[in-house]
Symmetry: C2
Subunit: 545 residues, 2 copies
Amino acid sequence: MRQTIRLIRVVRGVHANKFANKLTSPMRLSIASKCAVVAVNSGQRRQYASAPTGTQVVKLTSTMYPDVVRDERFGKITAEDIEYFKSVLAPGSVLTAAEEDLSGYNVDAMRKYHGQSQLVLKPRSTEEVSLIMKRCNARKLAVVPQGGNTGLVGGSVPVFDEIVISMSLMNKIRSFDEVSGILVADAGCILETTDQYLADRGYIFPLDLGAKGSCHIGGNVATNAGGLRLLRYGSLHGTVLGIEAVMPDGTIFDSLGKLRKDNTGYDIKQLFIGSEGTLGVITGISIFCPRRSKVVNVAFFGLESYENVQQAFVRAKGELSEILSAFEFMDTASQEQVARFSELRRPLDEPHNFYVLVETSGSNRVHDEEKLQTYLEGLMESDIIADGVLAQDETQVKNLWTWREGIPESLGKSGGVYKYDVSIPLEELYQLVEDTRVRIQEFGHDIGTEGSNVVNVVGYGHLGDGNLHLNVAVKHYDKEIEYILEPWVYEWIEKRHGSVSAEHGLGFAKKPYLKYSKDQSVIELMRQVKKVYDPNGIMNPYKYI
Amino acid sequence: MRQTIRLIRVVRGVHANKFANKLTSPMRLSIASKCAVVAVNSGQRRQYASAPTGTQVVKLTSTMYPDVVRDERFGKITAEDIEYFKSVLAPGSVLTAAEEDLSGYNVDAMRKYHGQSQLVLKPRSTEEVSLIMKRCNARKLAVVPQGGNTGLVGGSVPVFDEIVISMSLMNKIRSFDEVSGILVADAGCILETTDQYLADRGYIFPLDLGAKGSCHIGGNVATNAGGLRLLRYGSLHGTVLGIEAVMPDGTIFDSLGKLRKDNTGYDIKQLFIGSEGTLGVITGISIFCPRRSKVVNVAFFGLESYENVQQAFVRAKGELSEILSAFEFMDTASQEQVARFSELRRPLDEPHNFYVLVETSGSNRVHDEEKLQTYLEGLMESDIIADGVLAQDETQVKNLWTWREGIPESLGKSGGVYKYDVSIPLEELYQLVEDTRVRIQEFGHDIGTEGSNVVNVVGYGHLGDGNLHLNVAVKHYDKEIEYILEPWVYEWIEKRHGSVSAEHGLGFAKKPYLKYSKDQSVIELMRQVKKVYDPNGIMNPYKYI
């Protein structure tokens, strides 16, 4: 059912009370032709992979990071190994560098890391994964489990000659219970496809992110993906009910429960959530899916200070409360970057220092619009927002989301991006962006001038989760810029007890910086788990821990 | 702010459309004097501990379970040990059996297990816990961490002479951030006190259960408590952001983060959630607290079949959606049991086979009442519910909750209760209660007659979580009844891939039955974790795994 389209623009200066008088009944919203309130069916939006699309040759990781050396304990693949894999896997499931171009499996989505795997295996069942792992463990052959290869920290591609186990052929929905909302599916199901399957049944996957058209749900769980709606549906640690995985020795870890409550022993599956392929190969997941909201509204507004952004957030929690499903913020530099590459008209005429995208998801159009209207009127009345559009039909909703989701893609067009995905206490969150700009300039680099390598420094992210994306776009990757930024950024975060990786994970890129976020006592317990579950260290080596 | 009181009774036979016409505006609800819609401030209710209150002597666990023998590897407490503990702890923190009655620490809330500890330690800081554990580990003295001692599986009391580490003096709120809603507090804070602290600031602890006046938040985390609002706020695996714990060797595990997102390594703290004191002593927690809902509504209705109960649940998910905060069901036997010991008038005049309590929590009274009204009218129209009250002011809300929360207490008055807290796929959930009645009768026992030991067999629980409480009330515990029920109940659950302990945990009582819920591959990984983190096995022995 398509909702009626209404378009209203919130204009600074219109007195909120007057507004209120005019707009208390949702049926009257359309009288104000300069304003926009929009309701649409459960938000399908244009999706963005955050990957740069360049065609430049990506240097080998081993060349870029000469200090990282191949672990000589690992075996080398022999003709017998390949024969064995061919004998136990279906035809077409064993890809060798001698016969195929494996660069799609060796190069990461950021085009920053380039492994040298000579062998890609594509199992079709958990049992096949088990046979693969038994052989690899016996022969000490290192492996990299790979989902959609959309990760941003180099975790999903080999460093040297590790075998890639691609999960792309394990992509079946195993079961879905329309009463409980519990889905059981293969790890290799694509997030968007899975979400569409659920949408057809009135449910939603409790996770959404830019790369949804390519990423696998198994990879999402393996990296504990956060995404756009964590503030509404919570973390995967709460929603994942079960995991099936193959351990390094080939044992099938069978914990694919379909129960919301099960207090029988240590919740071992939690260790796999966010383990980035270092403990085993996740082959299936069971997850609790909420009912899909009937109505989705999106508002987009401009604000003059970061303090205003925080005020708008606190009020959203109080007033939008149970229908709030996203609260994303973007700085002006990030919006200029998107505008540079977009054909869309900017949502607001005048520039502002900050922008916020608020999404609500609820079950009653009239109620939701009323709440949103009251919220926005309150913000206007208190001069917290300067201008805003309260968007509209599906197209408008998609377009508004573009100004948030299009940021990574637009930054990638410059050449390279130093990406920092960090958690910081809310009140200091944006300070990191400002301090980064000052630091870069102090080291003699202009930002955005023709002669400078530094194209832009932007901040945006999931304010509701205290999660900032600090991105430094450059024309080309440059060790000098890297040394200016690192470990300085991590030290800055450590001082605020933040996290050096809020949602992207550690992978290859952040492994050296774990100590800035985790106490030595915690790292020691992690090491013990890794050692006991993967004694030969063959699972996704050179990364994580 | 006290909400206006309105009282409406939903009466079977009144045509729903007529209802709808009359009641579309919340302002008109009061016209129907026989019906009840009620809004109150965020639900404070009467609380219930589920503990029987008998004064009978509780037999020693070692007598009742002669097969369980003391582990001879463990040291015995010496005068030097006691001197040492007195030297490092504050005065009054070392309680010995020679000087005090320790039965409150040795006997569990169910009055079913009775340990023989001669020493109770009450540390006041994490550092003191660390000093205690260093000594215990060096001397191989076994310990039992104890919170409010409200557990239902004998997990919080000693079996033999283990030292009790009572957390009751570690009860400070460490910090609360009113913007993010993140609370950091000592493990020994009482749940209700903590929730009241949050209520004063407009927030809610994301967990509620009957024993809240006594249980500790550290114990809640250690046992992964589920409770009444899991369907709204999710599991502790999703809401707990950080844990501070003391490991068996005295090392302080410092993972007390205050970040909603932190993907830096294995989420080790998850292992402590639900570990029941077998890995370390939880001393502090950090938890994400949602905003407290401004409006709470409660409806209570009668239904004729379990199928109707399921239908009402599915509709509640769809129509009450984001405001649904509890969906509890009770069978007629459970309600008769409460009625036997209650002075309250029963909510519905006529008896029904099943009863449901629905709670909504939202931010807008008018919206919430409208949703609830529409929902109930729909149920009436479809003949899903037979009768109902849509309750009222705080007193009425408390009274209605009594008919759910008073069940364990009323059962306990008979003598003893065999309690089964299980997860089963929804469609078969109530079948277990019926099959249990048949089985007991097949073995020649009447239910509820004067000459029979079996007083009642009741089913109730958190339908929204697929969590059934099957309770068999007896005049006195009797091995014959136990043998009729066990392992038969567990085998019944195993066939349905359910859980033998949905939320109560394993403790001493369920340890032997773990295999009915967990695959051997999973149990093996649990054992490895236990062995590596607690090599001497001194943490809460004879239990769990």
